[in-house]
Amino acid sequence: MTDTPLISLVDATKTYHLESGDFTALNHVSLDIMENDFVAIMGPSGSGKSTMMNQLGILDVPTTGNLYIEGRDVAKMTNLERTHLRRDTIGYIFQKFYLIPLLSAYENVEYPLILKNKTRDTTGRASAMLEAVGIDKEKGEHRPNQLSGGQQQRVAIARALVNDPKILLCDEPTGNLDRKTGYQIMEILCDLQRKGKTVILVTHDPKIAEYAQRIIRLDDGRIVES
């Protein structure tokens, strides 16, 4: 572990050019996230949480300012380099799970490994990941629509972890789950953070945010508490 932030957002602004006029979703935001941090991002609707997640997940780049991941300026990367950085460094966990409907649970977990290694997984890592989140082999053969919400989110976590990323980006990971299942998922995330992952979590739920070591509050595109 070094003193260099794993993620560094420097005076970042994101402006959308709409027909009704320009809309600034992030307004001169600066933020450092260190390796192994557990950060919760909170804020009302329209405060810029999703925009910030898109920036941190390299799905988008700031209009002005800079984003550094592991010290590399994202704006200076090609699309392909960003894609590879996303694939290898970041694991995504979404509120709506976003599993690939045409693939089985096992194949969904295997998929990022195939992207990285350009070949099917013969190491058993995908199966091991599924087992680690409590999905047995039989359930692994099921398509996402044959699984419960909790099971789908576990599969999504296994998929996010299979390439051993440093960063886990979780966008309302418990939003579509009942409270009990939500807490089980949060326990898994805490455990992952304890094992060295950097967890960034967007949530509306203060009880969920309590799992984080650090809470960042956004309002109107600015950080109001960090």
Binding site: N54, G57, L59, D60, N79, L80, T83, H84, R86, R87, D88, Y92, F94, Y98, L99, I100, P101, L102, L103, E107, E110, Y111, P112, I114, L115, K116, R120, R159
Partner: protein, 412 residues
């Protein structure tokens, strides 16, 4: 490719939308069948004509350019200088050919005839009976021996029900070039002694399938024009000598252009003309078949666009978790390829079945159907069908791979 996760995603997508995909593939099936069948039909026609003309490839045909004004001897207005090939010219031709071939002089015209109560019309050929076996095959019966004996073509025999031993009344009025003896037409009777086998399309203009062959003596007695031959066929012993013989004949017979020259031709020039015509016809038919493939391409494009539009969120997921644009593009091109290969495979099988039936029905023989130049249209049609499919998928695939993952994830 089969183990490729993107190929499997494409296969599953096609399976999920099976009916829609099948309907789109049917368009390709129709296109492949249309192109293959049209191509095979044209090629089979060409091959058949080429084969028939090649059978008489060693034949040089010599005809008179001068218009024959009327059968000499049948009226006072005939001009011997303007009709047919003279005895002198024939002798010159014989001298040139020598032992390098056989010279067959013949007369012919078109006339009406009656067998029993059935009337017919067709060509009547007058030739030396000893020449008959040089280029005609008598399938049933014997050659002409007497003055009033005749051979008839197999088609004429079949259509009019004339058999060996039957009698035919032949009009003395020639229907060919204008004559001045129509008013005085009479009928002479001949007995059929043999049936000539089918010749098909031939280059020497002696189409005996629907004609009658009589001795030259009977012919000239009936129509006149003794020693003024309508045509002379030269059967060269060696096909390679044809050009030389033609040149030599031209030198000796076409000395005085003012008196009218003799036209000298062989099968190759006719073959070129017919082949070129059939080639144009085949291309035209292929173009019509191509239109159905364009329609199929629109259908595939539509299905692919629907597939992309229905899977926007899935594309967003793929892109957001690290799938390269090229991999997304490949996935949709695989899908178009699958539609193409299914359509082409079904189309290929159907092309063979339908093509075989069409060729059999329209040409009357499937002898040439499985020759490489004919059957090549099946894989060619399949290949074109697949290429059309993949081309139709290019834009939808490009569109999918260039989506913004954030917008794509937001879509419902």
């Amino acid at each position: 490719m089969i183990g490729d996760i993107f190929f499997q995603l494409s296969v599953r997508s096609v399976k999920v939308n099976f009916t829609r995909s099948l309907l789109a593939s049917i368009g390709i099936v129709i296109g492949v069948v249309a192109i293959s069948c049209m191509g095979m039909l044209g090629t089979n026609m060409s091959l058949q004509v080429e084969d028939q003309l090649s059978a008489s490839a060693n034949t040089i045909v010599i005809t008179s350019d001068a218009i024959r004004m009327g059968p000499p001897g049948m009226g006072s207005s005939s001009s011997s200088s303007s009709s047919g090939i003279s005895k002198t010219q024939l002798n010159k031709i014989k001298a040139v050919v020598g032992t390098n071939g056989t010279v067959i002089p013949l007369y012919y015209t078109t006339t009406q005839f009656t067998s029993g109560n059935t009337q017919g019309r067709g060509s009547i050929y007058g030739m030396n009976p000893s020449d008959v076996n040089e280029f005609l095959t008598i399938g049933n019966g014997t050659n002409i021996a007497g003055m009033n004996e005749a051979l008839i073509g197999l088609t004429l025999s079949d259509t009019m029900g004339i058999n060996v031993g039957d009698r035919i009344k032949i009009s003395s009025a020639s229907e060919g070039p204008p004559t001045n003896n129509t008013a005085s037409a009479s009928r002479a009777t001949v007995t059929v002694v043999g049936i000539i086998d089918t010749r098909g399309t031939v280059s020497d203009s002696v189409s005996t399938d629907n004609g009658i062959v009589v001795s030259k003596e009977w012919y000239t007695a009936q129509y006149g024009g003794k020693d003024q031959y309508t045509q002379v066929n030269v059967l060269a012993n060696d096909v390679g000598d044809i050009s030389d013989i033609e040149d030599q004949i031209d030198t000796v017979v076409n000395t005085d252009k003012k008196k009218g020259s003799l036209r000298i031709s062989d099968a190759s020039s006719q073959l070129d003309t017919i082949s070129s015509t059939l080639e144009t016809l085949t291309l035209f038919c292929l173009a019509i078949g191509g239109i159905s493939l364009i329609v199929a391409a629109v259908s595939i494009f539509n299905v692919m666009m629907m597939s992309v539009n229905e899977r926007v969120q899935e594309i967003g997921i793929l892109l957001s978790i690290g799938t390269e644009s090229g991999e997304v593009r490949r996935m949709f091109l695989y899908e178009a390829f699958i539609l193409g290969i299914v359509g082409a495979a079904i189309g290929g099988v159907m092309s063979i079945v339908i093509g075989y039936s069409v060729v059999d029905a329209m040409i009357g023989t499937t002898e040439y159907f499985f020759t490489p130049t004919s059957i090549i249209y099946v894989p060619a049609g399949m290949f074109v069908g697949m290429v059309v499919c993949v081309l139709s998928g290019l834009y939808p695939a490009w569109r999918a791979s260039n989506m913004d993952p954030i917008d794509a994830l937001r879509s419902e």
